[in-house]
Symmetry: C2
Subunit: 500 residues, 2 copies
């Protein structure tokens, strides 16, 4: 085959794959936000058929020939095509090793698992979800083994979610983190309950919370013609191209901060996608470089920006205008303290910035053991509860508030959770470097978030997947990943808040 | 090829086509209800690629061989497979004659036209939409000519939307209708303005109108686990299987009856889809037999049921509970009169039952001339305005309220409008026959709509496309189509209302 012909076929397959990603992504978004309850059967069936079709689009003799030829000649290609070929080569190497019927079956299991997880959570009945989780774990182990990698299955998946991540690396990272923050948490708890949060637990009408979301997206300089907000059980962000990004949230009448920080978190993901380079439109390189880098952006906006005093000072007058009764006797500083109260709790997504990584560590420990076979899905809830007691000192009153709280496992993501902790650590390092070039506090206090977004676009967003995660960190920080910044950031911030 | 093998391949292709219809339908629904403004470019690009893929799914040597073999042996197949083969044979015969690039180009034009129509309507600027409409007309003429049918292009499309429909048949039908209803409209206008509608033009908050929609869907016995309601610019109904049906509406604060009857109309479409036989799940025969039969059901519920005095008597107490201020001094009979006021107007979807068909006749006349080349798309607005003056006696103040009011042409439907009139006529005939077996008035006045739905399910819905439109009319009415029932129905109803 001629190289030119191979490039043409390659671009055509990319365009088709992009269209399939689009329709499947919309189908999923629709299922989460709109579809009637009984649509789930048709959803699973269509997902099964689409999996088979997209598998064949990748794994067929012609496409394999094209990819191998292009990969062999990758030095002759322009940068974007070259990186596309490298990504597809990796993807194809993965897919080729999985028999089509198993690939399809797995996707049908995922479509069903989504539903069963929701049902199990609503009914507080883990047994509804457990058989599907067992299958998902089984598939994840098997698919990793099919890759003939020297890595054991969990290491394989950690490295897939974040190049370079491994149990060895994460054990060190988490142990460092733990030894720094556990004493800090103890110090804080010894000071007693000095932060009042009662006013954020009042009733905040959902219709007004929706207005708050619009306001926050506006502050974050998110162009609403390119980005909508949907309402779902468990918030996530998806995108089909840089002009069609969707964030989602869930409103709780008595926990307005929940949706507020969910919008800012997902808004961070959105900003990344909205600001990838125009040269990547339609390319498989559009979008985030890795889960860790993506989470670095969501966690950056949620915490480093969104939970900073400068940000609260800027947005509080508008929040107070929206909720004058609820915030009658509250000032910006009190609000700042309330959204930063550090206290071990049950629900990861509602956790404060300091204790958050303990939630991740629990999941990490459990995933390790599920993936090496030393823990069964049947034993999982009691281990979950035991570790929550050990790490966070809390009693888990129900599986809905325990092992069933997150959607990730139902979506097949085993090894994703550590990305949140890595992302948080990346974001602190990026923040320290950003401050060398920008007066971040001043910009935030004046609502000039778009200038921060411009900096991040220049350093990270515009590259999509053209640069690797490590290259992006290097590009944004002038050095390789170093978790010490995160520990320093947490320590300084919470010593400040609690006068330690 | 063995017959058994051919059947297997046929069923597999059907399942894939069903999945494609699902994802494309959801993509379209998402675009109408949720997607951000700038998603339209990505939408058009994906629609183009999906068109090409679905074209190839149908028009390829293997599939052609399968269909031809099965068609030759159709007498040996079970009834459902046989009817599936007949439908696909017809569909394939159509597709085969169209070059793939033109088929794809047409679908991209449609995706763009949807957008441009919305923009043109919002800006009251027909010139934005005109070039796309010209292309659509061009494609419709060309595609009809490709079929080597003896019919001229408009007759070809009329017959596609409703088997047996033709200009000859419709000229007769409309002329009969016109000679009966125009004198009736004159008689009514001579009586002067005797019906008060001022109270339905008051402000009805949209949030409460949403509650009214839920109530009406409930009255119609629509299972909400199978059917959602979305909000769009121009209401329509779509479905992906009988457990995933979506109706849509548009709320206007000062025209509560608009959404009310839109919900009942689309609810009629939904009931048809929701009640097709379980044996047709996943089959291309699931769903309505034709546009005319489909509209017979929407128009039946909208008008014959929804605008009957028995129905208003039943629902009015709840409506009054939702809008106590607006309806303070109004009783059920006054409400009944208000929603039946016959008065020539500008907007088809808001028209009363009597003058409605004049709106259809205007479109029919224009389509005839667009399709035979005697009218250009540039001349269309002035002809539209002239015919509205001639047929309905109204001056069209703007293209937004004139030629741009309907979405159908932007969706490529040329020849669809007559289905509304035929459907209305079918529904009157069905109604007269239904009354021989059911005490319809009593059932409606007691809110027992589900028993009417059960009758319609037995006679029509359960068959999907297994029976032809003509067979369904025969099945429901014991005789073939006869438009006299419609004239009788309109005459009796409006003579009653206006004491003529």
């Amino acid at each position: 085959m001629e190289l030119q012909k191979a490039i043409e076929l390659f671009k055509k397959t990319n365009a088709e794959a992009h269209a399939y990603n689009h329709v499947i992504g919309v189908l999923y978004y629709d299922q989460e936000t709109a579809a009637p309850k009984n649509a789930s059967m048709g959803f699973a069936s269509t997902m099964g058929i689409m999996s088979e079709i997209t598998y064949k689009l990748m794994v067929n003799d012609e496409h394999i020939e094209v990819i191998e030829l292009l990969y062999a000649h990758r030095d002759e290609l322009d940068l974007i095509t070259r990186r596309e070929v490298e990504e597809e080569y990796r993807e194809l190497a993965y897919m080729k090793n999985i028999p089509m019927d198993e690939y399809t079956e797995y996707n049908v299991v995922l479509a069903e698992a989504r539903d069963k997880w929701v049902e199990a959570k609503n009914k507080n009945d883990y047994s509804i979800f457990e058989p599907l989780l067992a299958k998902i774990i089984g598939f994840n182990i098997k698919f990793a083994q099919y890759q003939h990698s020297e890595l054991c299955p969990y290491d394989y998946w950690l490295n897939e979610y974040e190049k370079g991540a491994s149990m060895k690396m994460l054990d060190e990272f988490f142990s460092k983190l733990k030894s720094a923050i556990v004493p800090l948490i103890h110090e804080i708890s010894e000071k007693g309950n000095m932060i009042d949060t009662s006013f954020i637990e009042l009733s905040y009408p959902i219709s007004v919370q929706r207005q708050l979301s619009d306001y926050l997206m506006n502050v974050m300089s998110i162009n609403r013609d390119d980005c909508i907000i949907g309402e779902v059980e468990h918030p996530y962000t998806t995108n089909f191209n840089k002009h069609d990004v969707r964030i989602t949230t869930h409103y709780y009448e008595n926990m307005a901060a929940s949706s507020m920080y969910s919008v800012i978190h997902e808004g961070g993901h959105a900003l990344y996608e909205l600001n990838t380079g125009d040269d990547l439109i339609g390319s498989p390189l559009a979008g985030g470089a890795s889960m860790g880098i993506h989470e670095s952006q969501s966690r950056f906006f949620e915490n480093i920006i969104g939970r900073s005093e400068a940000f609260i000072d800027y947005v509080f007058p508008e929040i107070k205008k929206l909720f004058p009764e609820q915030l009658k006797n509250v000032n910006a500083h009190q609000f700042y303290l309330a959204v930063n109260k550090a206290e071990p709790s049950l629900i990861r997504t509602e956790a404060d910035e300091l204790t958050y990584c303990l939630h991740i560590m629990v999941r990490y420990e459990l995933e390790k053991r599920l993936m090496d076979g030393s823990l069964t899905t049947k034993e999982l809830p009691s281990e979950w509860n035991r570790l929550y007691k050990e790490y966070l000192g809390v009693d888990v009153p129900s599986d809905s508030e325990g092992v069933l709280q997150d959607m990730h496992w139902s979506g097949g993501s085993i090894g994703y959770f550590p990305s949140y902790a890595l992302g948080s650590a990346y974001s602190a390092q990026i923040f320290f470097n950003m401050k060398k070039e920008l007066d971040v506090e001043k910009l935030v206090s004046e609502g000039r978030i778009s200038e921060i977004v411009a900096w991040l676009t220049d350093k990270i967003y515009r590259y999509g997947r053209v640069k690797t995660p490590a290259e992006l960190i290097e590009n944004a920080c002038g050095e390789s990943f170093n978790p010490d910044y995160y520990i320093r950031y947490l320590t300084e911030k919470f010593k400040g808040i609690y006068n330690l």
